[in-house]
């Protein structure tokens, strides 16, 4: 295959005939500043700033540079982390400049976005980083003023001396203070003294985002860079033959080659690659016989639910005798489809394999994994791989993987040039790593007093690992309990998907508990209180959730929605503890002209201290819209090892008109904060399905709701 000799400069024949000469290529300037008064560039700032620790540098001109180590994908960490450092430093927020840190294992030890785990992990570290620097600045001021440090206080980037009313700015002290020894045990602020934490601070990238600055991975351009797209095989298949005759003829395509079962198309810009991909003819053959389909998955669910060999995840008491002696038994099966993560920014990555290492730039939730993958393919030590994180146009778990990084590195290595790999939306939806499809079977035994004396959950998941969360509620509140999990090893690739497992388990469990409450003739709220009381007063086995906090969010949401006090409205409750936070939700459905209309969802969240109210509100709201959209509308089915939905015309995502009003409330407490990227999603499906049930009498057990028999008679969809 011959390589066309060309470079971007030749290719970019662009003339700006008005307003400024010839435009040739372009380069990226960073624009991280939260303030409009930016005059100093990041580079200039970094040249003069004095470093205090991994998170913090202070510039003599008064700028406070705070590094955000974790990938930002919309969870707002690039704003909330620096707020914590700035709080303990007593910084003037308008002087703070936030910069995204590169991957650096020596400075930071958890540069990952996943599991809503960053906040609990870093809360204290960030506070100490700010508090330590503050102490050093005060010591420097004490020396300069020749006073005792106890006479000093700090406020908005200044050290104040009470007696003389003298003020010295942090910038002024930056150099002196950095010379001092780093103090060991610095006191941290009391929650009631917080001035920045708890206030709504706007996203630090707002200006850059709303003016179209290059922030995302797909926006990366570097001199000499090639573009590439990849054609990947359906699941369970391998390449039989490749005919690239026609594809090669597309002007702008420089190279087509096969690596593994993938075919890479390389060129100068993106569009010719998309065209060439259409013309590329690849024949595939099954690796080992059967190709997967949704029919096959359904059959497997049925067979394995009946006869599969299960792993016992938790066992309390004796379920067999409880069910034998039961006055009533309630049972139901629930099922969800595979789902693609579909962040709005499709997968992409930039890699440059050089003689002495690899340069990686792009959107990843796990820069560390990207680095090791690159090191292995390029055959270099990990220290020789640098990883720069761009902003991520969404992740939802998809970017925990490194497959797109591996592709970029493999291609760059082969062509000997820097390359950006771009996935089309079709690649993104058909390219795997899905939320696993799962079926659950629940059974509950009630005694003659309608007390739940037995509870069984058996889950079958496709590449789902343990598809239960055996220690979650109601475990601990039932004498006889059995939780079992079965995994089918599918050819389809699966991956953590926002609120892994619980994104569907919570819906199934909270819907089923409503079924049990009804069978017991109890109000859904009271029924859950009874179980929680039971877990508190006579716990069965280990309890892995905080009973009072769980009850607290139910109480709050019941109060806010006026539980049981509204006429003509079906109210559906759902409560879930996941990723260390507690969220209860009530959905309200009203019948209008014979059709159920979802009007409103209330949410009560306990995530401890709310660091940034505007960001927290976004996370809860976003999680709920996400949970609702996928429960209601999104399906993914398979034929011959490939999804039948390939783009947003058939892979349906929720839109503005389909979203109900949402009311977000937080429990006010002083508990150390926990993450919010995930916990609000799991309860939403259950709240909606329960509300639909109480409004229509139709029980939804499978997702997506819109495609279920139970709703066929109704018009459901966009608000008028």
């Amino acid at each position: 295959m011959k390589t066309l000799k060309t470079n971007r400069r030749d290719f970019l024949k662009i003339a700006a005939t008005a307003g400024g000469g010839l435009l040739l290529g372009f380069h990226f300037t960073r624009c991280d500043s939260p303030s409009k008064m930016k005059v100093v560039t990041d580079e200039e700032l970094m040249a003069q700033a004095v470093n205090y620790n991994s998170y913090l540098s202070i510039s003599p001109d008064g700028h406070i540079v705070i590094f955000s180590p974790n990938p930002e994908l919309g969870q707002n960490i690039k704003t909330s982390f620096p707020m914590i450092v700035a709080e303990e430093l007593d910084a003037d927020w308008s002087k703070v400049r936030v910069m995204q840190a590169f991957l650096d294992g020596e400075k930071y030890d958890r540069q990952v976005t996943g599991g809503s785990g960053a906040m609990p992990h870093s809360w204290e570290r960030l506070r100490k980083a700010g508090a330590t620097a503050r102490m050093m600045l005060m010591e420097a001021a004490a020396k300069r003023l020749d006073v005792d440090i106890s006479e000093l206080s700090t406020e908005k980037g200044q050290v104040l001396h009470s007696g003389s009313k003298k003020k010295i700015s942090y910038g002024d002290l930056a150099k002196d203070a950095a010379q001092l020894e780093v103090p060991e045990d610095v006191p941290l602020k009391k929650v009631k003294d917080f001035k920045i934490i708890g206030t709504p601070i706007k996203n630090v990238d707002n200006k850059a985002m709303f003016t179209g600055k290059p922030l995302f991975g797909l926006d990366i351009y570097k001199e000499g860079m090639m573009n590439a797209m990849v054609k990947r095989p359906p699941f369970g298949m391998k390449i039989k033959s490749v005919d690239d005759e026609e594809a090669k003829k597309v002007s702008g395509v420089t190279e087509i080659f096969t690596f593994g079962d993938n075919v890479a198309i390389v060129g100068i810009s993106t569009w010719p690659l998309m065209k060439a991909k259409q013309k590329l003819k690849v024949e595939y053959e099954p690796k080992n016989g059967k190709l997967e389909s949704s029919e096959m998955h359904n059959q497997l669910f049925t067979d394995l639910m009946k006869n599969g060999k299960a792993q016992v995840m938790r066992k309390d008491g004796n379920v067999n005798s409880a069910f034998r002696g039961a006055a009533k038994v309630v049972s139901a099966e629930y099922q969800c489809p595979f789902l693609s993560h579909s962040p709005m920014e499709p997968m992409n990555f930039y890699a440059h394999v050089k003689a002495d290492g690899v340069e990686l730039v792009g959107p990843t939730q796990t820069p560390d994994r990207a680095r090791s993958a690159a090191a292995e393919i390029a055959g270099v030590d990990v220290e020789k791989v640098s990883v720069e994180m761009t902003r991520l146009g969404g992740g939802f778990g998809r970017r925990l993987r490194a497959d797109f990084v591996e592709e970029a590195v493999s291609i760059s290595k082969k062509i000997g040039a820097p390359v950006k790999v771009t996935w089309s939306r079709e690649d993104d939806i058909t390219g795997g790593a899905y939320r696993p499809a799962v079926r659950y079977r629940f059974e509950a035994a009630l005694d003659k007093d309608n007390k739940m004396i037995g509870y069984k959950l058996r889950g079958v998941g496709m590449n789902a690992g343990n598809c239960t969360r055996e220690n979650n509620f109601p475990s601990g509140s039932v004498d006889n309990l059995l939780i079992e999990s079965i995994e089918y090893k599918s050819d389809l690739t699966t991956n953590a998907w926002r609120a892994p497992i619980t994104n569907f388990l919570a819906f199934a469990e909270q819907s089923f508990l409503d079924e049990v409450a009804e069978a017991a003739g109890k109000d859904p709220v009271q029924f859950r209180y009874e179980l929680l009381d039971r877990a508190k007063n006579k716990p069965v086995g280990e309890i892995h959730y905080d009973i009072d906090r769980m009850r607290g969010v139910i109480e709050l949401v019941a109060d806010k929605c006026g539980w049981g006090q509204k006429n003509g409205v079906g109210q559906g409750l759902s409560v879930y503890f996941s990723h260390r936070s507690y969220v209860a939700q009530v959905a309200e459905v009203r019948m209008e002209q014979g059709n159920p209309v979802l009007e409103r969802i209330y949410a009560a969240t306990d995530c401890g201290i709310v660091v940034n109210p505007t960001g927290a509100d976004q996370q809860v709201r976003g999680g709920m819209v996400d949970g609702m959209g996928h429960a209601m509308f999104t399906n993914m089915t398979f034929r011959d090892g490939a999804p039948t939905q390939k783009n947003f015309d058939s892979y349906r995502l929720i839109r503005m008109k389909e979203v109900p009003e949402i009311e977000v409330h937080f429990v006010d407490n002083e508990i150390d904060p926990t993450g919010l990227g995930e916990p609000a999603l799991p309860p939403t499906g259950g709240a909606i399905s329960n509300a639909i049930y109480w409004a229509t009498g139709k029980r939804l057990r499978n997702q997506p709701f819109i495609e279920q028999e139970e709703l066929k008679e109704y018009k459901i969809g966009q608000r008028a």
Partner: protein
């Protein structure tokens, strides 16, 4: 390959590309105007919306050969210093989560407000329903459009 003269954000550009190249890729790959985003490529999500005269159009399905003399406005050209009422409202309401869809959202809103400076809730939802936000920022998008509309008045 052919030469096209384009009017974008008040400047004239000449590009030499295949006639079927969508305006989106001309903007992104050839002119370095990467504020206009790619997400679906089939006119389903609105991430790539630009203004052609006063209409919000998905640039991913608009071949460069069809742009002609029409004035194109991208997010980079919506205002000189990022202070268009919509950009200010988007900041005040703190609309974004990941932010990837927001340029397209703002351009869709810009077209709406040009035609209808004081839209009702319903009109906002009608105009914005073609734009997907995977992060679910819909409530704030609506709020920001209404806020921008009140600023224009």
């Amino acid at each position: 390959m052919a030469n096209y003269n384009l009017k974008i954000n008040g400047k004239s550009y000449q590009v030499d590309v295949d006639e079927d190249t969508p305006l989106l890729w001309v903007l992104r790959d050839h002119l370095g105007l990467v504020g206009t985003k790619y997400s679906c490529g089939i006119a389903q999500c609105g991430a790539c919306k630009v203004l052609i005269k006063d209409d919000a159009v998905p640039a991913c399905v608009l071949p460069v050969s069809q742009v002609g003399e029409d004035e194109v406005t991208t997010i980079e050209g919506l205002s000189e210093s990022g202070d268009h009422p919509l950009q200010e409202a988007w900041n005040e309401v703190d609309v974004a989560q990941c932010g990837y869809c927001q340029a397209g959202q703002i351009m869709a809103a810009a077209a709406l407000l040009k035609k209808n400076p004081a839209p009702s809730d319903e009109e906002v939802m009608d105009a914005m329903n073609g734009n997907i936000c995977r992060c679910g920022t819909y409530h704030r998008i609506k709020e920001a459009v209404l806020l921008a509309s009140s600023k224009i008045k």
